[in-house]
Each structure stands twice: as C-alpha cells, then as structure tokens.
C-alpha cells in the first residue's frame, strides 16, 4: 500500500523547511498544501486543534505536529536511509540538546531583530552569542551530524535564509563573528535536500517586512 504523506506548509516557515529537508533526505514523496496564517484551512484546524500551527505532517491520515517531533517521527519510520539522529544514546542526547537550544533561541531572538523595536540592539548581541555557542559545538566537523547532515543541521539550516534579514535590519556581522558557521551553511547547500528546500533570503526579507506591517496593524 502506498504511503500517503501530506505536509501542511507555509513556504517561508523555517520549521516547515526542516520537515521538507527530512522528507527529501529520505526520498519520501509527499503532497504540499500551502496554508495562509491569517486564514487557516479546516484541515489545519482539524489536524492541529491545539496549536493551529504549521508544519503538520499527515501520514496515512494521522497528524503529527511540532517540527522537531515530526523530524524524529520521519527518522524513525523511514529508517532505511540517511539516519538523522545517531543511534548511540549519548550522541543522540547531545543532538536533541542542541536542536532544543536552537529552538529556544533563534526564532525568538531573530524576531526581536526584524520587528525593529527598542530591544533590537540587545537581541543583536544575544543572536551573535547564540551563534558563537553553536559554532563552538560545530567545532571542526563538516556538519553537526559529522560526515553528513544530521538532526541538528536540519534544525538550524533553514534559519540561514534569514541571515540576510538579520544583517539588513540590524547589521549583525554574523559572517565576521562566526565564519565557520557561514562555511557550514554553504556546505549544507551542496546537499540537494537542503538546496531544494531552502527559501531565497531576499524573498524572506520581503515576506518579513509584509508580516511586520500586518502584525503592527493588528
């Protein structure tokens, strides 16, 4: 029986991109349905009644939400190729730790940067510190996953499309502060699963400007 895989998506969402990269890595065919955050579909509200957010993966009619939970699910179900999480429990715990750290920090701090309010300067400092901490974890490895893309790479790489926005809004100096991270980002894009899924930085910038206006009007 063919697997039916549907992704409730929003093209700009870094969280949805994580799922797309994971699906590509595993070679899974899926249908992508675009959502409008200001006009959510019945399907989304039915499949994720608690948070009403994307991404939602619907596998043979069963919904899974929260991007990292989805990626873990994909990794477990389609374990025939490209393992994203290490099999060793300790290495696994470290991968989970860093992905969680990324989740706790990047989007929230980044938002304070592109919203451009009084806390922007402070957010800029925090962002650089966060990237430096992450860069230390990368060390001299090719990827966080080692020789190939892993769970932490998948968790972080979608945000690299947002670097242009952070630089343009607040002159963060990410490249100067974290050259290894920039090199890592370039290396990730050499993987088809990543280059196919990543959004264009200029389009993200345009999108966020629009979003900011809409949020300010609310």
């Amino acid at each position: 029986m063919e697997d039916e895989v549907v992704l409730l998506d929003l093209w700009a969402s870094p969280f949805a991109i994580r799922v797309k990269i994971a699906l590509e890595e595993k070679g899974i065919k899926y249908e992508c349905k675009q959502e409008d955050l200001f006009n959510k579909s019945h399907l989304l509200l039915e499949m994720n009644p608690i948070h009403k957010k994307i991404p939602v993966l619907i596998h043979n009619g069963k919904p899974i939400s929260e991007s990292l939970i989805i990626v873990q699910y994909i990794d477990q179900v389609w374990n025939h190729k490209s393992p994203l999480l290490p099999s060793d429990p300790y290495q696994r715990s470290q991968a989970l730790f860093w992905a969680d750290y990324i989740d706790k920090k990047i989007y929230g701090i980044g938002r304070r940067i592109w919203m451009g309010k009084e806390d922007q300067e402070e957010a800029k400092e925090e962002l650089i510190q966060t990237f430096k901490t992450i860069e230390r974890e990368l060390g001299d490895k090719l990827y966080f996953g080692g020789e190939s893309i892993g769970y932490v790479d998948v968790a972080l790489v979608p945000f690299t499309s947002w670097f242009y926005t952070y630089e343009t809004c607040a002159n963060c100096g990410i490249e100067a502060a974290c050259p290894k991270l920039i090199a890592w980002a370039k290396r990730c894009k050499e993987n088809e699963s990543v280059s196919k899924a990543l959004t264009d930085p200029l389009e993200i910038y345009g999108y966020l400007l629009q979003l900011k206006k809409r949020l300010e009007l609310q």
Partner: protein, 233 residues
C-alpha cells in the same frame, strides 16, 4: 571497580526536573549517586557539566554529562537502560503523540504555571486563566490515553507522560494552599484529578516527595524573596 556505569545526578530537592529524573532512575532500578546542589553556590562540577545553561539538573553517566532540557535526560535513561519499564512507546505515531503532549505540558502549561507563581494581581489572574484553559485542553487530550477515564498507575507502567505531568502538577495541593486558588479541579478536570492522585499514591512517589510543610514553606519563600528560582533549576 572503575568508572563503569557510574551515574551521578546533580539535583535540587525542590526542583521538579530533578525529582522526575530521580523517579525515573529509581523506577528503572539504576544505581546512582545524588548530589544536592546549592543554587546560590553552584559546584564547579555543575558549571563544568552544564556550561550552556549553568543549571541543575544534570545527569553524569561515566563522566559524560547530559543536561536536562526538555526531557532529554529521561529519553537518555529510557534508551540506555532498556528493561521492562519503557518510558516511551515503540510505535512511532504513539511516540510522537507522547512527545507532543509532554511538550505541551512542559512548554505551555508549566511555563504559564511559573508565571502564576512569580506574579500577583492582574498578571497573575491572566496567567491563572490561561493555566485553567490549558488544563481543560489537556483533559480533552488525555481522554485518548485513558479511554476508561480511570488512570490506573503502578510502578510497572509509569511512562514519560506520567512523569512529566507529575513533575508539573504533582504538587498542585501545595500551590493551591499557598496561592489560594484551585488548580486541578475534580469537577472541571476529573481525569487530571484522578491521574495526579493515582501517581501521588505510589509508594515510590510518596518516598521521594518532600514533606508538605517543607514544600509550602519553600514555595512561600520563592514567591517572596527569589524571583529567579526558575532560572536556576
């Protein structure tokens, strides 16, 4: 005997995060050493093992640290000591559901509960309203996990969801006493009420729970003097 299978838990007696790791280790039958950390004067070991967050709770296994952040230690324990007590289900979809709800309890409910504890007046009222709404959502969600509406918990079948719910709301009576509000209402959320009661009645849980008066005094202390407690645990 060398470092083989040496397990140390750096914890704090009033921390719900420490407590649930202690509970998990005891349930799994893992021998460990417990080190009580003084939050005002953290050991250099702790700072070495958790440089990112500088917080308790940290598990050190054969010299390697795992910091507690979103249930990572509990998953590690589950995978490292595989025995009859499994904290997470094997089935990927069930696993994803458990992860979803534990994330909900941890990030949505518990964080708002912390706001209730830390604030007063209008801010507190707003947070209380949010907690109660979310508890009702949890009540609905848990109907799938307890179809007969009668949680029957014992030390052989305790899972991650039980541990996380317990660490977030096991001490609801202490909070209700100190804050003067009803958090887990047997009429509004009967399933949650019987669930937390069932967990609190387990002998091991009773053994690990500090005396009620000590917890009440500590909660009063946090509210009065130390707004930063939840940044430290």
């Amino acid at each position: 005997m060398g470092e083989e299978n040496k397990v140390i838990l750096h914890g704090m007696w009033a921390s719900p995060f420490s407590k649930r790791v202690e509970l998990a280790l005891r349930l799994k039958g893992v021998p460990f050493e417990y080190k009580e950390e003084d939050l005002r004067n953290k050991s250099s070991q702790l700072l070495h093992y958790n440089p990112v967050y500088k917080k308790v709770t940290v598990l050190v296994h054969n010299g390697r640290p795992i910091a507690e952040s979103s249930l990572i230690i509990l998953e590690y324990i589950d995978e490292t000591w595989k025995n009859s007590l499994q904290l997470l289900p094997e089935d990927p979809y069930k696993r994803a559901k458990v992860r979803f709800w534990t994330s909900f309890i941890e990030q949505q409910l518990f964080q708002t509960m912390i706001t209730v504890i830390k604030t007063d007046g209008e801010a507190q009222e707003k947070a209380i309203k949010e907690v109660l709404e979310k508890l009702e959502m949890l009540e609905e969600g848990m109907k799938e996990f307890f179809p007969d509406r009668n949680p029957s918990i014992d030390s052989e079948n305790l899972g991650l969801l039980d541990l996380v719910f317990f660490s977030s709301f096991g001490l609801h009576k202490v909070r209700e006493e100190v804050l003067g509000i009803q958090i887990i209402d047997p009429e509004k959320t009967p399933l949650l009420f019987s669930w937390v009661k069932a967990i609190n009645q387990l002998p091991l849980v009773k053994e690990l729970t500090p005396p009620h008066d000590k917890l009440v005094a500590f909660l009063k202390f946090i509210r009065e003097c130390s707004q930063v407690f939840f940044n430290l645990v």
